[in-house]
Symmetry: C2
Subunit: 413 residues, 2 copies
């Protein structure tokens, strides 16, 4: 037990997701419900992560969230309600004055608990603040809470935010497959899905296989080197079987030489000023098929809606996002754990059941969790049944937006 009477602060950092506000809500709920055993007095929120914190742009969340309706609305609001940043802290032993500034603000507001919701860059911030506090003997609890649609954080079974993004990708893919089925002429549709380094989100396009039997014909992931030759051969083979071919590709596909597919295309059109027209992976592969196969072809980049489609949340994801936020309050105030990131442990898949754990933040910072080999087929052009089994529980259930006059309501500070 290491209970410290004082205040707490929570921030959001890195790219937005549709579930990061649910985790914020979980922290607020934990404080409101007193799961900290009475030690936390006021919960502050920092605007725009540590950037806003350095400007002392704090919001009193205890006062702000005085009823259940606001929390339920917050849980259905996409992106980071507190605002975000991508600030990288310097080495904690560099002598940079930024750490003195941060810790003086902690003292000024009597902040004993610091919660930071983010991805692996944000865990770098958690690890550095923890290291500085340790080296200076500062008595503050610093915890990271994971979020990312990419699902690429080490040490956690999956990340809050992934389930909702995966559900959006799975649903949009199924609807696009329907749309593509209406004509009979040979046609290829390429769906480009987010994921610079890992294929988890692209894999979600095929989770329907074991749910309703609907999935793309081919799925290409950044965990495998991409080959134009194999790709064209795969597409031609499927076209011989049926006219409407749907292919899911990750934005981060690379050739064996390490070049991204999206930066490699030669002979790409230039604009009137001679600038190379920067294309996405899907667009490059669309042009490849038009040139080499010559059939009708188009590409669809799912783009921002993947991470902000709050009208189509996974109830499992939002429930877990709230749970991990609430648990952070318990881990900090009751268990006295610091310098750590909370994790999700999958105890059982059928029935699906999780527990919340934690690991040292330093072990997560700046690392990427790739898809494991058993999740990718031997040809490297699809996912396995085991991968479907891994993803399926994470997209279960719907939250339902609060619609007013046809549009979903969002929470705004």
């Amino acid at each position: 037990m290491n209970q410290k009477l004082g205040n707490a602060i929570v921030g959001q950092s890195g790219g937005p997701t549709a579930a990061i506000n649910a985790t914020l809500s979980g922290v607020i709920r934990g404080v409101r419900e007193g799961v900290h055993g009475g030690v936390i007095q006021t919960l502050y929120g920092m605007r725009n992560g540590v950037e806003g914190f350095l400007r002392e742009e704090l919001i009193n969340l205890t006062e702000c969230f005085d009823d259940e309706d606001k929390l339920e609305l917050l849980e259905r609001t996409p992106a980071s309600a507190l605002g975000s940043c991508r600030k990288r802290l310097p080495d904690p032993h560099s002598g940079d004055g930024i750490y003195d500034r941060i810790f003086s603000i902690f003292r000024k507001y009597d902040i004993r608990y610091f919660f930071y919701i983010g991805g692996n860059d944000s865990m770098d911030t958690v690890a550095k603040l923890s290291e500085y506090a340790r080296s200076k003997g500062e008595d503050i609890v610093i915890l990271g809470i994971p979020k990312t649609i990419d699902n690429d954080l080490m040490e956690t079974d999956h990340t809050p935010g992934y389930g909702s993004a995966a559900k959006y990708v799975a649903v949009a893919t199924q609807e696009i497959i329907r749309d593509c089925a209406v004509y009979r002429i040979p046609a290829v549709t390429i769906i480009e899905i987010m994921g610079r380094d890992s294929g988890w989100l692209t894999a979600a396009s095929a989770v329907g296989r074991k749910i309703n039997g609907i999935e793309p014909d081919l799925v290409y992931l950044p965990e495998r080197s991409f080959s134009n030759t194999q790709f064209l051969s795969d597409v031609k083979r499927v076209l011989e079987d049926h006219p409407n071919v749907v292919v899911a590709v990750s934005e981060g596909l690379r050739y064996a030489n390490g070049c991204y597919v999206s930066e490699s295309e030669s002979g790409e059109p230039r604009d009137e000023y001679g600038h190379l027209r920067l294309s996405g992976t899907g667009k490059v592969l669309e042009m490849l098929i038009r040139r080499e196969i010559g059939c009708k072809v188009r590409s669809v980049e799912l783009n921002l809606p993947q991470r902000c489609a709050a009208h189509l949340l996974s109830k499992t994801d939002i429930t877990e996002s709230i749970q991990i936020g609430r648990s952070a309050v318990v881990f900090a105030a009751i268990k006295g754990i610091t310098s750590a990131m909370l994790t999700i442990i999958r105890c059982s898949n059928q029935p699906y059941r999780i527990e919340i754990g934690c690991v040292a933040a330093a072990g997560v910072a700046n690392r990427v969790k790739n898809m494991e080999d058993p999740y990718i087929n031997s040809e490297g052009n699809h996912i396995t049944d085991a991968c479907c089994d891994y993803i399926a529980p994470l997209i279960q259930g719907e939250m339902g937006s609060k619609f007013v006059n046809g549009l979903p309501m969002h929470f705004v500070f």
Copy 2:
């Protein structure tokens, strides 16, 4: 009264929408419920429009839809369940044998009622078949039922399919605006929305103004000539006011010289009707801003989900789509109207109330309804309140998908 005892057939043609199956369901419901006064015996569906009809690929819809559950599922299924085509019929006086073939199939299956659900290209088919039947004294009722996400059909207040696409555009835009608000650095996000010739769907991005106050900063429509100079000036002005600028643009924007903004895209093929395949307006404008303003900029093409996002249907749209399908059966069998397209007449806006009417199909075929002047602001860079009032009733209400294990179910023949 012009009642003919016999069979009926229905087909779907042109680009898919999220509501075209609801209209199909309406026709089936009308026949099942006997609103034809007992004259229609069997309702057939043609696969892939007139193309499948010419191959006699017919489905007995009376047998197929024997319960309510299937119809409710059909109404929540995107794209054309019967399949579609883009076949253009020749001049009915050309002497082409295709008309003899079509009418011999009508006689073979005792088809007295022909329903064709489609856009202005499909109304061309309805008008030509009607003209041929008239010139030959053929006793068959031929009716067109409108659909298109573009809302660009003449003579109807709006088109079935538009309301659901508009709702998707409005919701996705609001979510993207939230996503863009998380950082404080100056950034421009361009949302590219479908609409080759008319701006109705792009206009829907701003319908939130009078619902919850959330809308893009700027909206550019094909009804006004696009100017790079005005665009850059507009964006700079907004950037001086706040850092996150969101701009909605129609894919069909053109310069004063008539060239599409996207037209420098090389190798874009034209479709069977000679329409340019447009893509890339947002990308072209993204590069313009990067070059001329130099701030962070990205473009998001909403793409196919605009027309197939059946998980986010407008209840108003689906209700009307069913109603117009059912009404077609009444207009054909009871009122004896032929050579016509059914229309939606807005009798009142507050409270919103419509009636179903009809006009000669020839007056709709191959024409485009543009946005009226009172719906566009004087600067040509946004919509007016009157336009919001026009769109708002069409996005009201939600249908709710039938989710099983996290994914929406669809109807498949």
